[in-house]
Amino acid sequence: MRNNSLAIFFILLLTSLVFIFFNQSRAVLLLKQSVNEILKPIEIAFAKPKSWLSFWQSAFFNIKNIKESNNRLILENLNLNEKLAKLSQLEEENSLLREKLNLSQKSINTSLARVIGRDFQNNRSFLIDKGTNDGINAGMTVISKGETIVGRVIDASANTAKVQTILDAQSRIAAIAEKSKISGLVRGLGSDAIFDLIAKDKNPEAGELIISSGTDGIWPRGFVIGKIKEAKSKDNQVFNTADIELSADPRDFDSVFVILNSQ
């Protein structure tokens, strides 16, 4: 048996040596190619489990590195989130400053103010962080981005001012439909506003822009209020009305512009 094993060993070793020393010969190359072809399907079948095993082997032995890398990435993520928040703030600030510049170029002198308090019950008023020390006085118009009327300063103290929004039931703005030139009055209803006192024979179109006409001598002319949603006409009423969609929802903004003078 032992001699048998020895004989097998030497025969197989000799065969291997032949393959090695004649590895560039045609016969050996052909044999290698044939073996490769036979093994290819098995190789393909084993490729995925091999890759899976390799992944978990690496993961197991690199747990410490993975944990450190994870902690580092968490910290990096926190830092990036902080930078992102700052970037968003800067973007907002940039946008407001551009708006202010735009207004200045139209000879509309404004003061940028932040909303610091709201009347959450009915959104009829809010507080801003500028007051008489900053040149703010009662009666000044307050607008938001896009030259949209938001309200009017009704009370100003040294460093803050109270703004009455156009939703307030006491708010009235003489307005005109931009295309059809139909005039009327934008009146606050508390939670909404309507375009009232429209002549009986006139009907503004849905989607039409409503802008301040300036004919009341209180509100400046040419500022956007909203859009017509639906015109209404009732036989038992003297005037037509229209529901409007305000361009600036008093609940949505954090900063406003107070018009110090308009020409």
Partner: protein
């Protein structure tokens, strides 16, 4: 290693050589070297089985697995470098065969596999 430990020497030699030839067909080394490596490794392992690993207890199998894997890697390195000395192939670094996670995984995996095979065959 199983065939060598269970004293089926002829079969161990043949299957080791065949396994080497088949793996050598798709590896980057010269065709035939893997066959020679497996053959030499198996021959040395058979000698060890007849002198050192005399019984088939769990401890012996684990020890034999560890020795087997280490011996295989060493034989691989030595054979390739001997042929490189005769200008067949290139010299390879010793660390390449041992200082990696593959070697560690092989040690663990081979030990577990050997225990499983022997258990299934009810030899232990």
């Amino acid at each position: 290693m199983y065939l060598a430990l269970t004293k089926n020497n002829s079969k161990a030699l043949f299957f080791a050589w065949l396994g080497g030839i088949l793996t050598g067909a798709s590896s980057f080394s010269i065709f035939g070297i893997s066959g020679a490596v497996f053959l030499i490794f198996t021959a040395v392992f058979i000698v060890l089985c007849e002198t050192v690993f005399l019984n088939l207890k769990t401890g012996t199998i684990l020890f034999a697995s560890a020795i087997g894997v280490t011996l295989y890697h060493f034989t691989n390195w030595a054979t390739i470098n001997i042929f490189a000395f005769f200008k067949i192939g290139v010299f390879e670094n010793f660390g390449f065969y041992f200082a990696n996670l593959g070697f560690l995984s092989e040690l663990i995996f081979t030990a577990l596999l050997m225990l499983a095979i022997f258990k299934i065959k009810n030899k232990i």
